[in-house]
Point group: C2
Chain length 141, copies 2
């Protein structure tokens, strides 16, 4: 199993999925954004032939607190204008709703032409409740 | 402190840096590649004003076992030709030498125009010996 989760310390799959850390490979980035984990999923799938992917976002995530536009403006304010295109090129991955963002990520993954068909069918999304520590599967389609 | 480390289960900074998981934010991707962590560093720096970045690669890393070209060929073999450009566009981040890759990542980070100057000065690189669990700082320039 490969897990893609937010890097928030509360969102640690080895804890809430009760894994010992060796059963699963855990990619962690801001928000648990699948787009930014695609390289890893593809290289790991090549090396180990993954059988499952879990995408885990969580309530109270920092990615819910600002928009891409706010992040871009903030960074542009201290960066030379000649590099603004680089700021615009980054997919910042802000979220509006955590369940929606999980759904979108699962759908994006399943629609991605670089992913093995069988792996697409074994991609699931979850929302962690940061208060209770409970994880709920998100129904997609 | 923000840490960028390989997602290999042996390369877990909360273990070898003796952190309780709440002192540090840990981004984990294949190899511990800083390029693929830039979005996170920038958004986290915006939210928390980071004071340190540690880049940690490790001996015996999977990223040392194949070249970008091998990964690309492998994926192209099962992907429709119309999507080969997407395969080529991904920076796969294969490594030849783990110390060199840490050095290159630190240098890349320090040269990146989107990163705050002060944060650049507080970026350090480390190599974890996967056998002994010892972490060694890599001197850069
Ligand atoms: Zn989060
Ligand atoms: Zn590794």
């Amino acid at each position: 199993m490969d897990e893609v989760a937010c890097l928030d310390p509360r969102c640690n799959p080895t804890q809430f999925f009760d894994l010992d850390g060796y059963e699963a490979i855990v990619h962690r980035n801001a928000g648990g954004n699948i787009r930014h984990a695609l390289r890893d999923v593809l290289t790991l799938d090549r090396a180990f032939e993954l059988n499952e992917i879990a995408i885990i976002h969580h309530t109270d995530c920092g990615a819910l607190t600002s928009t891409d536009e706010q992040i871009r403006s903030h960074i542009k304010a201290r960066v030379d204008k000649e590099h603004w295109a680089e700021v615009d090129a980054i997919e910042w991955g802000s979220m509006v709703n955590v369940e929606e963002s999980v759904k979108e990520d699962v759908e994006w993954f399943r629609a991605n032409p670089l992913v093995r068909e069988e792996l697409k069918r074994h991609c699931q999304g979850f929302v962690l409740d940061s208060q209770t520590g409970k994880v709920q599967r998100v129904d997609v389609e």
